[in-house]
Symmetry: D2
Amino acid sequence: MSRYMFKNDYSEGAHPKVLELLQKTNLTQQEAYGLDEYSMQAAALIRDLINMPQADVHFFTGGTQTNLTLISAALRPHEAVLSAHSAHINVHETGAIEATGHKIFQLPGSDGKITTDDLQQAIDFHQDEHYVKPRLVFISNATELGTVYTSRELEQLYDFCQNHGLYLYLDGARLGNAIEATNDLNLKQVAQFTDAFYIGGTKNGALLGEALVITNPNLKRDFRYIMKQRGALIAKGRVVGIQFLALLQDGLYFELAKRANNLAQQIRQAIEQSGFSFLADSPTNQIFPILPDDLIQQLYTRFDFYIWQRYSRDSSVIRLVTSWATDETKVGELIKMIRNYSKQK
Amino acid sequence: MSRYMFKNDYSEGAHPKVLELLQKTNLTQQEAYGLDEYSMQAAALIRDLINMPQADVHFFTGGTQTNLTLISAALRPHEAVLSAHSAHINVHETGAIEATGHKIFQLPGSDGKITTDDLQQAIDFHQDEHYVKPRLVFISNATELGTVYTSRELEQLYDFCQNHGLYLYLDGARLGNAIEATNDLNLKQVAQFTDAFYIGGTKNGALLGEALVITNPNLKRDFRYIMKQRGALIAKGRVVGIQFLALLQDGLYFELAKRANNLAQQIRQAIEQSGFSFLADSPTNQIFPILPDDLIQQLYTRFDFYIWQRYSRDSSVIRLVTSWATDETKVGELIKMIRNYSKQK
Amino acid sequence: MSRYMFKNDYSEGAHPKVLELLQKTNLTQQEAYGLDEYSMQAAALIRDLINMPQADVHFFTGGTQTNLTLISAALRPHEAVLSAHSAHINVHETGAIEATGHKIFQLPGSDGKITTDDLQQAIDFHQDEHYVKPRLVFISNATELGTVYTSRELEQLYDFCQNHGLYLYLDGARLGNAIEATNDLNLKQVAQFTDAFYIGGTKNGALLGEALVITNPNLKRDFRYIMKQRGALIAKGRVVGIQFLALLQDGLYFELAKRANNLAQQIRQAIEQSGFSFLADSPTNQIFPILPDDLIQQLYTRFDFYIWQRYSRDSSVIRLVTSWATDETKVGELIKMIRNYSKQK
Amino acid sequence: MSRYMFKNDYSEGAHPKVLELLQKTNLTQQEAYGLDEYSMQAAALIRDLINMPQADVHFFTGGTQTNLTLISAALRPHEAVLSAHSAHINVHETGAIEATGHKIFQLPGSDGKITTDDLQQAIDFHQDEHYVKPRLVFISNATELGTVYTSRELEQLYDFCQNHGLYLYLDGARLGNAIEATNDLNLKQVAQFTDAFYIGGTKNGALLGEALVITNPNLKRDFRYIMKQRGALIAKGRVVGIQFLALLQDGLYFELAKRANNLAQQIRQAIEQSGFSFLADSPTNQIFPILPDDLIQQLYTRFDFYIWQRYSRDSSVIRLVTSWATDETKVGELIKMIRNYSKQK
C-alpha cells in the first residue's frame, strides 16, 4: 500500500469544477496567446475583486516563470532584488533570477519574513556604482515557512518601498492560504500595498497556472514582449484563463484555501497538545513541527512528507502540507498516530 | 455571427480523449516536477516509438520555452545557432534565444528549409575568435511555411553536422503533420537523424505541452537544472505527461495530424484547380495561397485567417491552417466560395 | 626581413605626445575609476569641442567594450539593435551584443551604410510582441568598408530615429578619419545628430582607449554602474583620460587622422591610375582594392595586409590600412610596386 | 595643500621601468589582439616562473573583466560560484558575475578567507535540480581584508575542490603582496593548487593589466572567443604584454610588492605599539586599524584614506594602503602623528 502524501499541495490534479469548465468550453474557437474571451473575463474578474480597473493581468503556467518574467521586465542590468535568504527565488529556483542577469541581495531573518529595518540596512550597504543598486523587494505571502504578512505589515513595507524608489513584488503561490489565515488581509489590500503580485493557481486547485497582477503603470509597458521572450506566452492562453474563471467565480479559490488551512491547523493543534513545537509559527497549510526521530519513522510508514532539516541529535523538522484535495480521513489517521505516540511516552 | 477560424491549429481546447484521461487520473496522488507515473509512462512510450531506450524525454508547456531551454543548455557563451532566416526562433520568439546570450546566424532560402551548402557557407564565414562559433543547427519540421524535410534530407543534414561538430536540433511543433505528409519519414528516423527534437502537442490536440527528446548524451547532463532555471519544470508535471499518454497511445497523435493535413490539402486542391498558386509547396496543414484581394475580402466575411504578406498590387498571400478540430462543413463552405469566385471570373 | 604592415591602424604603440604626457603625469596621486583630474579635463575638453556642456563623457579601454556597455545600458530585454549586416557588432565582436541579451536585426546594403528606407522596412517588419522591438540604430563612421556618412546623411538618420522612438548610436572607432575625409562633417554635428557616440583612440594614436559621449539624458542614468558591471571601469582611469588629453589638445587627433587618410588616398590614386577598381568608394584610411592575384602575391612578399575576399577566379579584394604611424617611404614602395606591375602588363 | 593618499594602491601611474619599456618598444610593428611578440614573451616568462609549459596565459585590462570572463567561460548556466561573503565579486563588482547569468553562493567567515568546512556545508545545502550547482570556488590572495592563504591552505582547498568536481580560481589582484607576506607561498604553488589564477598588475606597478593563467585544460578551450565577446581582447594587446614583461623580468614585480608590504607593516607596528587593534590580521599592504574617531579626524587633515566601517560609538575602522609608489617620508609622518596622539593620551 502506498503512503498517503502530505508532501505538498500539488500532488493531485485540479479541482473538479476546473476540469468541468475546461470540458464545457473545449470546442469554442478562441484567439490565441491570452487574447481569448475566457482570459479576458478572468482578468476582468480579478480587476473587480481588487477594485482596480486599470490593473493589468497576465496568466502564466508556473511560479518560477512568473517571477523571472516580472523581475527581468522591471529591472535595468545593474539593479538588484532584495529578498529573505530563505526566499524561493534565492534558494529553490536554480538561479532563475541570476540567469536573467540580476543579483539577489539576501536579508536575514528566521521566519521567512523581512522588515523595513532589513531593507534600510540593505540600502545603507549599497553605497555607489561599485555595488548593485537595490530596486525590487521580493516577498511571498504566505512565506516559505508558512508564515503570513498582515495588511499592516504589507503597508509598512510598501510605504518604505515607495519612499526609497523600490518596487514591492509579492509572490502569491499560496496567497489564498495567507488571506484565509488572518482576519487582517484581503485581496484588495494585497493589490493596494504592492506594485505587482501573483495569485497562485497551481497550489490551490488549478491544473497549472498563476495570475500576475500589475498595478504600477511603470511595470506594464511592453510586458507581453517580455512574456513571449521568456517562453511564457502560451498559444492556448485560454487554458489558464478558464481555470482562473472557475476558481474565482463564486469564491471557490478562497474556500479551497480555507479548507487546506483548517486541515493543517487541526494537525498543528494535535501536535501542540502532544507537547511538540514548531520551526515557525505557521497559521497556513504548511506546518513545520519538530518531532522525535522515532515518531517520524512511525509516521513515515504510513505517510509521505519532507524531512526539512535535522534539529537535534534525536529530532528533526518535518514539513506537512495540506490542500484542497487532502483526505480528511487521512488527517485523522495522522493525528491519531501522533497522539498515540505521545500517550505512550 | 462570428467568422469560422482557419487562423491556426490552436483555436480550440484539447482532443476529447486528452481531457478524458486528465479527468480519469485527476485524484491520484503523484510525485511533482515530472517524476509522476504518467510522465514516466509517456516517456517510456516515446522511447519505445523511437526504439531508443537511452533517450531522455522532458515535458514542457510551450515551444518557445522548449527551444530556449534546449539551446541554452547546449551552448557555451560564444557558440551560435544556425537557422533559416524565416525560422520561428529568428523571427517570432521576441529574441528568446538572444536573451539567453546566443546569436542566431541566419541562412538564406525561400521555402523555410536549409541545405548543407548553406551550412558550409556559414562555417566558412566564421573564421576565428572574432566571430561567434557555429555549434547548433536549428530546423523545424514541418517548417514555418508548411514545407517538409524528408528522411533523406534529414540524414544529409545530420551527417554534415556530425562531420562538423554541430548539433542538429529539430523543432517539431508540427512534427505529426510533417510525418504524415510524406511516405518517407517516420518518428524513428527523426530520432536517428537529430541530436534532439520535440514532439509538439499544443498544435496537435493537447491543451498545451511539448515532449523534448534528447538522444545525444552530451546534451543530457543536468538538463533538469536548466529546465528549472528557465521556469520550465512545472509542479504538476503530470499535466503534460498525461496528455502525451493520451495522444501517443493507439496512434491518436498521428491520426489527428493526418486529418489536419487532409483537410488542408482538400483546400489546396480546390485552390489549385481554381487557378491560383502558392507561396511555398506545402503538403501539411498550413497552406499559403496567393489570392486576389477581392476574393480575400469575400472569404474574410465568413472566415478568419492571417493575411501573410502583400504579393502584388491586387493579390496577397494568406495563411490557412487546419487542425484536429477543424469542422469539415466549414472546409466545404470555404472551398465552395473559392470555386464560385473562380467560376464567375 | 619582416614585411611592412598595412594590416591595420593599431600595429604600433602610441603617438609620442601621448607617451610623453603619461610620463609627465606619472607620479601625481589621483582619484581612481575615472574621477581623476586628467579624465575630468579630457571630458571638459570634449564637451567644449562639441559645445554641449551637459554631455556625459566616459572612457573605455576598447571598442567592443564600449559598444556592449552602451547598448546594454540603453535597452530593455526585448529591445533590439538595427545595424548594417556588415556592422562590427554583427560580425566581428563574437556575439558581444547578443551575450548581453539583445538581438541585432541586420539591414541590407553593400557599402556598409544604412538608409532611412532600410529603417522603415525594419520597423514595418516588426509587428507585435512576437517580434523583438527595434530601439537602437547602430552605425559606424567611418564604416567597416571605409565609407563615410556626411552630416546631411547623419541628420536624416537622426530625424528618422527621433520620429520613431529609436536611439542613434555611432561607433567612432575611426571618427577622426571620417571627419577629415569630408568637408561636410565636424565633431559638433556628430554630437548633434546622435544620442551617443564614441571617439576612437585605439586606432588613432592612443595606446588604447575610447571616449564615449552621451548627449541624450535618457542614456545617462546610472551609467557608471553598467560600466563597472561590464568590467569597463578601470582602477587607473587616468590612463585613458591622459591619452585623450594629449590627443585632443591642439587638434593632434585630427592631424593624425588626416595624415592616415592622405597616405591611403595616395595609394588609392595610384591603384586607380593603374586601372584597378575598389570594393567600396572609401575616402578614409582603409581602402579595399580589387587586384589580380599575381600582383597580390608580389605585394605580399614585401608587405603584410588582409586578403578580404575572393572577387573573381584570378582576382581578390585586399584591405590596405594606413595610420598616424605609417612610414611614407613604405607607402612609396608599395605604390611603385603597383605601378610597375601595371606597366609590365 | 592636498592630503597625501593612503587610499589605495592605484593612485599613481606606472613604475618607471614599465613606462620605459613601453617607450622603447613603441614604434615596432606588431600583430594585434595579444598575438604580438611582447605578449608572447611575457606569457613564456610566466610559464617559466610557474614551471608549467602547458599553461595558457591571457592578458586583460582589469580585474572585474578578468573575473567575469574566466567565470563565464567556466560555467554552464545552472552552475554557481562559491565565495566568501566579502569577496570582491560578491560585493564590489556591481553584479558582474550575475550579469553573466550565474549565482554567487556566499560563505560565512570574518577574515575574508574560506575553509573546506564552508565548502562542505555549501555542497550539502545544494541538494538537487531546484538549487544551483556549485562548480567554481572563488578566492582572492591577498583577500579583501589583507589576509593571506598559505600554500598549505591553498593545497587543502584545492584537494577538496578536486575531490568534489569544483574548479578553484584565485583572484590575484594583490598576489605579489600575498606571496611576499609569507615564507610559505610562491608562484609555483599558486599555479599548482588552482585551476586558474591571475597575477594582478594594476595594483602593483602597471598602468593597467592583469595576467590570467589557466592551468586546467578544461578551462582553456575557445577562451579567446569568450575574451572577445566580453570586450577583453584589446587591439593593442602589446600594451599589457609589455608591462608584464617589464614587471616580471628581474623580479621587479615581487620587489614592488615587498616594498609595499614593508611600508604597511611599519605603520601596523606603530599602531600596535600605540595600543590599537585591527579588524583583521593583515601581513600585506592593506591594513584595517580600529582607531578613535578623534585620531581619525587628525589623520584626515593630512592624509586621505577610506573609513571602512563604524566600530564603536567613538571608534572606526579605517583602511590604509601602501604601494610601490608610496612616499616613505609620508609613512614617517603618518606614524609620527599616531604615536603623538598615543603619547598625549
